[in-house]
Symmetry: D2
Subunit: 350 residues, 4 copies
């Protein structure tokens, strides 16, 4: 009937899985063919297996779908979106890739593999080129493409235009992250209400290594990591959705806040040039009010696909500091992964 590409969502009942389903239910290029869940839920109707925790139409109208097990031996759309936990992803995603699926994964399992693209279409679309080598080396007809950790994604959206214009030498980022980043049920209300938790397991390391890869140079068959010093200090705060990041950067040539603002305002990267369906018109929203961006008020704009920057000012230690905000489960998870698939489609990888 339609010539949309059939897709499978692995782990459709979880926090990110539901967002995949909502994004893909009426997508111009993709059509949901299979939803998978844990063995406990497989065989049930989607609407009976979990509570729908998003706004809008419950289960995106797919509540009557029968959930399947995550089984690479069964039928799947040629495009697979993975919202699996990292442990399970480590096992299942290669099996799907071997079976021919192009897996767009939100899991951390393969992000730092040298032959796996770690991709944010605005930042490093050319890294998609790693796929060819990946298929050759591994003997896969499919492949694995990953999007970074949510906190990294938001950060590199701000760093990419600065790196292109000036060169980023060092970045120090303190995050104030939403509860939803831990999935559902995730963080207990007894731990989070009225509190700040100065620790998120594994998060700081992910931001530090992923950033260097994302800003790295694609050189034919490999990515040479960017020589940037990255320090992340990650916190959980009583916020539902959206990560706030306080960022200081040392840029080559020590540009002024005005020069930085101009570069950010003028940025028009690949997805915006291509008009990818999930790309926001402006990848970066600049705020002039001295007390913005604010996560509760700004983060849902553009379907959560743009990032927000405000308070660009001199940093007495590193040169430039600013306030950064992005949507962790849209731009930083489901939306980012879908945008990767849109890029791959346009680039002829599907």
């Amino acid at each position: 009937m339609s010539n949309k590409i059939q897709v499978t969502v692995l782990g459709a009942t979880g926090a990110v899985g539901q967002r995949f389903v909502r994004r893909l239910a009426n997508h111009p290029l993709f059509q949901i063919a299979h939803l998978t869940a844990s063995d406990r839920s497989a065989g049930k109707h989607y609407q009976d297996a979990c509570e729908w925790r998003l706004d809008g139409e419950p289960f995106a109208g797919l509540g009557a779908c029968i959930l399947e097990t995550s089984d690479p031996g069964a039928a799947f759309g040629p495009v697979v979106f993975s919202a699996l936990d990292t442990d399970i992803a480590r096992e299942l995603e290669p099996a799907y890739a071997r079976a021919g699926a192009l897996v767009f994964s939100n899991a951390a399992a393969f992000r730092m593999e040298p032959d796996v693209p770690l991709l944010v279409p605005e930042v490093n679309p050319e890294h998609l080129g790693l796929l060819e080598g990946q298929r050759k080396t591994r003997g896969w007809s499919g492949g694995i493409l990953t999007n970074p950790n949510c906190t990294t994604t938001v950060l590199v959206m701000a760093l990419a235009p600065l790196h292109a214009a000036f060169g980023v030498e060092a970045v120090l980022m303190t995050s104030m992250q939403a509860a939803s980043g831990a999935g559902y049920p995730g963080v207990s209300s007894l731990d989070l209400m009225g509190n700040v938790i100065p620790f998120i397991k594994g998060e700081e390391g992910k931001v530090e290594v992923e950033t260097a890869k994302l800003l790295g140079q694609f050189e034919g068959s490999r990515v040479v990591e960017a020589p940037v010093a990255v320090s992340a200090l990650c916190h959980r705060v009583p916020v539902l959705e959206g990560h706030t990041e306080a960022v200081s950067v040392r840029l080559k040539g020590d540009p002024s806040p005005e020069q930085v603002r101009e570069v950010l305002a003028a940025w028009k990267p690949e997805p915006q040039r291509l008009g990818l369906p999930s790309a926001p018109a402006l990848p970066i929203r600049l705020h002039e009010a001295e007390n913005r961006p604010q996560v509760r008020r700004d983060v849902e704009l553009d379907g959560g696909m743009s990032v927000h920057i405000g308070r660009i000012r001199r940093c007495p230690v590193l040169g430039i500091k600013f306030s950064l905000l992005g949507h962790n489960t849209e731009r930083g998870a489901a939306g980012g992964s879908v945008l990767n698939a849109e890029l791959a489609k346009v680039y002829g990888c599907l």
Copy 2:
């Protein structure tokens, strides 16, 4: 009856004023003689002029006290604690000092005056020496001594032992500050619930300049500011009491996290050596758990007079990073000011 020193609390109905009253109500050295309030409240019983918003005995047992106007021409205890707003403090505190009062002020009005001690007893007790010149120059029989901004106070408690042991070259501090820092009623619940506000008026500048003064060298009649680069990125978060600070420092000689921990653990500054009544046994509480300190769980320990440090680790950008926590309205306001008065008493300034 007692030979305690009579004291006056200026602005006793506000958030910090109530904490002054609670701290001084059963103090071993001081006895409350006068409580002042705005003209609107003067003449009323304390308990009729405001709601008591602290734990423990309402109005610290002084609910029947008659509030007076803040009038340097009227009677006052020779020691005056000021919880006045900065604008009013700018006018009234010098008048009290001229009239002979030693004013321990929590206001920002005179902190950066060259002849006014900006004092944290653990950090720079010798700066009390500025008082002599202040009295001479200004022809006052009394004087003004200030405690820093709450965020600064917490920060310098951590920096002081590191500065003494290694030398602090640069510090980058991102704060996540409690609602109480804005006084009462302060921040609207509509602005703060589920949100992060990346801006607090004037706060970043205060931290940056006050820190350099506090870590400065007292040279007879003046303080030479420390040559340390300080960058503050201040946020308001949905927390009631206590400021969390994510700190990165560049220290001379690039010590290891273990060396830093040893220095912090061994620190025994002046108030602890003197056994000042409000001094906590340990000025710094070190936490070993990877997810501590947490503001809601840790900040009330030691009556809010110690600061908490955890997660001391390498910073890829500045060398060392750690989590810091302190009580903004106790150590960072009322308690800090009372401790200053205790130091002044022991040093013979009263």
Copy 3:
């Protein structure tokens, strides 16, 4: 240009005022001609006089409008929406009515006047008939029409179909109300975070008297209050928007929960029959899940104009109990008032 009716919004900078502006900016029947504010803000551009605190386009695209003073002697649209504080409303609204304006007021000042309609279009559209007598008695060419307190509005939306079908003898309602009900800045975060405040000044009395008037019989020139015992127990809880109400009712004939559900599901009152622009398709949304409605998840549906009912069950004391939820600043304030104006337009009162 258009034949829309010109309207004035009194008090456009406040929490309810902004919602009036957002609702009226693209309204099919009305066009904003004047926005007023306090003397302090008059003369300023709308966008310079306050912060826009709603989602969507800032200032609804009217940020460049010049705010005027609230002056019945100056020009005004023939229809006036009042978001004034009750004290100011008491003085200004009659002056506007005398000057010829039909004032749709959200203020409490005149709600209980015998000749002033207290109106919820789904509940008592016939009470609009009071307007004729009001004009005659008071000699006004305009008039005042009011919508009830937000908590009352939500309650009577649930009671009206039950009163029509069975007769309500007694109702006991415990509210858990959002911060926004107190306006901006309203409730301090220091009072509300992690707390329940079991008191809202004047609220319980308003619910008790307004409900009896709203369910009352219009008899030509007056409304005979319904003989229903109403008890309200009102609380403020840490919620941003939306009032949750736990309701128990004693109905004539002691119907079963199933009978009650059928009546609520079948209800199709006047605004829905007329298709008024702001009327939701279903005035009552019935929830089947045992843990719904939930304020954060459900209240924004239908632009906040429907109310939500769930958990209809037997009450061992009064017969029937259920969970009720509605939007306090939309259905219970701005949206309710605009719907009143739409009804008045269709009924030929404008």
Copy 4:
């Protein structure tokens, strides 16, 4: 060494278990001899098996204790406090009782058994008399005594003096309950922040049946339930500790609010007459301020063992209404159970 009674805490790692340990660590009558936990934790040091989530000394100084399995065949103190989940309690508590232990249980498993005392010492100390029959019928040397659900406990503390003075005919109670009532991790922050959940599984039924038993008449070998109509409407709100209850009652003789207040103020029940160690001096704290009691400000007073009542006023439907507040995990759980054991000790049951 001491002649304190040796006690065992079953389920010491959980939310209520930790409170048992903190209460019993320095108790004048009891001494902790054994702490048990799940098989997964048994054999570990207490401090390695869980995070300590309470204020005060971590693990109440017992962090080095070795946790044991819950095994009635192993050694146990003759007094056993059970913080077990209901399912496990159903199996293990009778086994302990059979083995000779007097089990003071916080679980719901046996509360409504006709021969098991459901006990609040201020309310129905004479129900302890059921124990004799229980032992006889079941052939146990030990026995099971229970404390009610937390919400019920708080409610009956208010109802008991009114029932004694006037007779309670009907009570309608709407609760706003803290997150801690669901244990740890309990309610997800994603479900609770900024929300009200109008449903707590099983809670309303428990309150309704337990209240009738607690207010019932002890007649030698059985308790005749009180003929009182009870309706509970239970909600979860974003509060850490403490349940707020909005209560309406129909009392015989329709007393005035002043008469009700006098009765509550004059109440001096058994634990206060006996001076039991955990009994608060005043079982009910009456508040005069129109906006109190407030859970965050009042609930920790008296170690959470008193309940708070304010806003006693006429209810147009049932006669009297008031605001009630109590500590769900102290008075409503661990503290209540310990007080039961103190009563049993003084009554000679140990």
